[in-house]
Symmetry: C2
Subunit: 302 residues, 2 copies
């Protein structure tokens, strides 16, 4: 199960009732953010989710509208009594950028761990999330993220019985632990079926619609993608500033066979993005135009 | 004439509908800010005032809740087509702090001029504002500000006539310029009466209620002062964190004989500061409990 909340849907500048693009996820007691523009902490508060369990913050890139809210957020997390380290993930330069911003948040009651991305593609295991990061095409180095919640195989009672393992060991194996019984070690796969389909969320901003996205967003349960401009006539502008139109984002969703598309990161000039949903739906039917604090819960298949 | 807008009234953390403490002033086409916490640019937008004429930004100190909104604001001012330099004023360390924050706003289409304060008391002339800055008592170096709009003496037609100056020179002298006529130089005071009472606004946060404030806020038309805690029982807390209670702020207002007091910079724990207005009014009758975008226009006396 993965709770998803689009904290903000604005690009470039925050507007009243439209915060800068940021995504918050919850899984198994651990919260994760992707991007953190100015005002992100307000949106978290409006949503009513907690600051203290924020274990991971990923950044797509370091333009102000994607990271300006970090120092304030860190101070507020500090006031929530957190003492455990927070993992920050982002393109090369992360530690330098955060050090700069921390000039106004020099003392925090928790440590920051940094993971800097430098390859075309990374895969990382953090706090129960399986993250994939891949390079996009913006005017600075920028990464898209997949957040996967893996799902192990079914627990097969017959297999456990056949091994002659007493019932009290079953739970450990089912939860992925190793068991030693009568001098023999048992791994989970001894009692589990083949891994089942997990949950996949794909998040992608700021970028031109490159092939890489289509490949990595493949079959995602939810694809959250920038749509800076709604109007097809703005394609030149999208090209110049390395962003996407609704049409381009929806075409990617279609090619990647995702289940659902949420558009986000709207230009301040796009006053009512919802009015343009038909533009995207021409290319991908199951499109929703994001708005602040739009939420869902992605579940494992029955 | 001085337009005054309390952009935010929160201390420490922004809350939904309560931005961090920031004040915006407008005089004669030039806008000035004192403090700029996270979200300040949103409040400016909600108020409907312009970004482009912001000529001066003063900082009381560099805690996150007073400066976190600066990089975003600068980026937004940059997008407003401004090319003229902006003057930043604040305690020693200003240039270093701003340099740190500008890691996410490295390229701006205007220059920043820095004025760092280091004395107990400074007086400065900037863009038609006469500023006074004086040291407060917080847990870091912190300054209070007076913003004065001076008012010259009345134009005395009789004096101008007596000098034998042709009418076309009167306007220049009235506006403070110098005139040369028949090889003789005339200064404005040759045609003006004694300077008249101007406008004085006093702004003061974060601090304990020191004598210095009483002295500098003397006879202010408007005294905007922190009241972090409403409850008298919180005096210990105010003492520990170097803030003020409503009672302390109102007592200062009374001793300084100001015309009006606005309280601001409320603790996030103070949910409905307005409910405590009577606590302050016991000490100073003309107290208002600030709220976001509370505004007034201070005018010269008739």
């Amino acid at each position: 199960m993965l709770d998803v909340c689009l904290l903000g849907t604005g690009g470039m500048m925050p507007l009243p009732n439209r915060w800068l693009t940021s995504l918050m996820l919850r899984h198994n007691g651990s919260n994760m953010l992707i991007d953190c523009g100015e005002g992100t902490q307000i949106s978290i508060r409006q949503k009513g989710w907690s600051f203290k369990p924020i274990d991971v913050i990923c950044f797509t890139h370091y333009h102000g509208d994607h990271i300006g809210g970090l120092p304030g957020l860190l101070l507020t997390i500090g006031n929530s009594d957190r003492r455990e380290p927070i993992t920050l993930i982002g393109p090369k330069g992360l530690e330098r950028v955060v050090k700069g911003l921390r000039v106004i948040a020099p003392e925090l009651p928790f440590a920051l761990d940094f993971i800097e991305l430098h390859e075309q593609y990374h895969t990382l295991q953090v706090k129960g999330y399986t993250l994939e990061a891949y390079k996009l095409n913006h005017n600075v180095t920028c990464y898209g993220y997949n957040v996967n919640i893996n799902r192990q195989g079914k627990f097969l009672v017959e297999k456990a019985k056949a091994l002659g393992l007493p019932v009290q060991y079953w739970n450990t194996l089912q939860k992925g632990g190793t068991v030693t019984y009568q001098d023999k070690e048992y791994q989970p796969d001894a009692v589990l079926g083949a891994p089942r389909k997990g949950i996949k969320l794909s998040y992608c901003t700021d970028t031109r619609p490159v092939k890489n996205i289509e490949m990595h967003a493949k079959d995602a349960d939810l694809f959250i993608c920038e749509g800076m401009y709604a109007d097809e006539e703005k394609e030149n502008r999208a090209n110049e500033y390395k962003h996407m139109t609704f049409e381009e984002a929806a075409s990617l969703a279609s090619k990647a066979h995702v289940k659902e598309l949420w558009l986000t990161h709207f230009s301040p000039s796009l006053v009512r993005p919802k009015d343009y949903v038909h533009v995207a739906q021409k290319y991908f039917e199951n499109t929703k135009v994001g708005k602040d604090r739009m939420s869902t819960t992605l579940k494992f298949e029955e």
